[in-house]
């Protein structure tokens, strides 16, 4: 996996989490994962297609999801499933949107599909090409995991450039 594709997502997650949770964040650890994704808390998945293809899963524990929702709403909110899912989807939306902005301005073109709630306990196993990178962000209210499995299609990008 090319690091220059991943870095915008890390930078974006760091900035969005810090602003969204109104507290500092830190990268706790970074691991490669070959096993199938296992859900830890409230998860939202965003798929990408085009020059870059794959998926990113954001997985936050309940306390963090509620904290993010409460900060956005400007009031303390209860821990209800619907609210927490909506909050994690909006979190995913903001992080992906900011990263996509950077990548698009660098010349990568791809489509971002709207976030969907990941309800199953387990996801598909990553392939050799799309080995997943898992980044754990620690925040004052808990951890947020970003599971990134992306693949760069050089040929597709070349074809697109040649067609212009």
């Amino acid at each position: 996996m090319r690091m220059e594709l991943i870095q915008p997502f890390i930078n974006s997650a760091d900035a969005v989490l810090a602003q969204g949770l109104q507290s500092p964040t830190a990268i706790e650890n970074l691991t490669m994962e070959e096993e199938a994704y296992r859900r830890r808390g409230i998860a939202a998945e965003v798929c990408l297609s085009g020059d870059i293809e794959g998926r990113i899963i954001f997985d936050a524990d309940q306390k963090t999801a509620v904290r993010f929702a409460s900060c956005l709403a400007g009031a303390d909110l209860p821990e209800t499933d619907g609210l927490m899912r909506e909050a994690v989807c909006e979190l995913a939306n903001q992080i992906i949107g900011n990263a996509v902005t950077v990548l698009n301005d660098q010349g990568f073109h791809f489509r971002v599909h709207p976030p969907t709630v990941h309800t199953s306990e387990q996801g598909s196993k990553s392939s050799e090409d799309t080995e997943a990178l898992v980044i754990c962000f620690s925040t004052e209210s808990g951890n947020v995991f970003m599971n990134v499995a992306l693949r760069y299609h050089r040929r597709r990008a070349m074809e697109r450039i040649a067609a212009v």
């Binding site: 602003q19 956005l72 400007g74 900011n98 698009n104 709207p114």
Partner: protein, 145 residues
């Protein structure tokens, strides 16, 4: 949240009325909270482009804060349709996807400005003052007052 000098309509000194359009209820609440600190009034909310158009007709707000990626009809298309019927409509696009093509497309179709999410109140405040400037002199005196 930081306090801002109220931005009022120059004609009658009344609060600026906003229509907030976003498919995320949290994003709408977040923006509603901000515009209230600018002395504004939330006239209505919509969760998609189609509803945004009908709510604009019904409410005729002073400013529309419009997300881009939404179900049924995306924000840029909704903005284009609103501006076609109401050339004076002031629409500010508010989206997490802020690459150049997107911004240019929105501005070409009639949006007045673009703000990237996560929205910083001081940035939105300055944009609101700028967009309201053609309403005469917006009365806000500056951020952080």
């Amino acid at each position: 949240m930081e306090k801002f000098a109220p931005v009022k309509r120059s004609g009658d000194g009344q609060p600026v009325r906003y229509l907030i359009v976003d498919d995320s209820v949290f994003a709408r609440k977040n923006l509603a909270q901000m515009v209230e600190t600018f002395g504004g009034q939330v006239a209505g909310e919509a969760g998609d482009g189609v509803t945004a158009i009908s709510e604009y007709e019904r409410l005729t707000p002073d400013i529309v804060l419009m997300d881009i990626t939404m179900p049924q009809m995306e924000g840029i298309e909704a903005a284009e349709k609103i501006v076609r019927d109401h050339p004076d409509a002031r629409i500010v696009m508010v989206s997490s996807v802020g690459y150049q093509e997107n911004i240019v497309a929105a501005l070409q179709r009639g949006a007045r400005h673009f703000v990237q999410k996560p929205v910083k109140p001081e940035v939105l405040y300055e944009v609101i003052k700028y967009v309201m400037r053609d309403d005469g002199a917006a009365r806000g005196a500056g951020a952080g007052v």
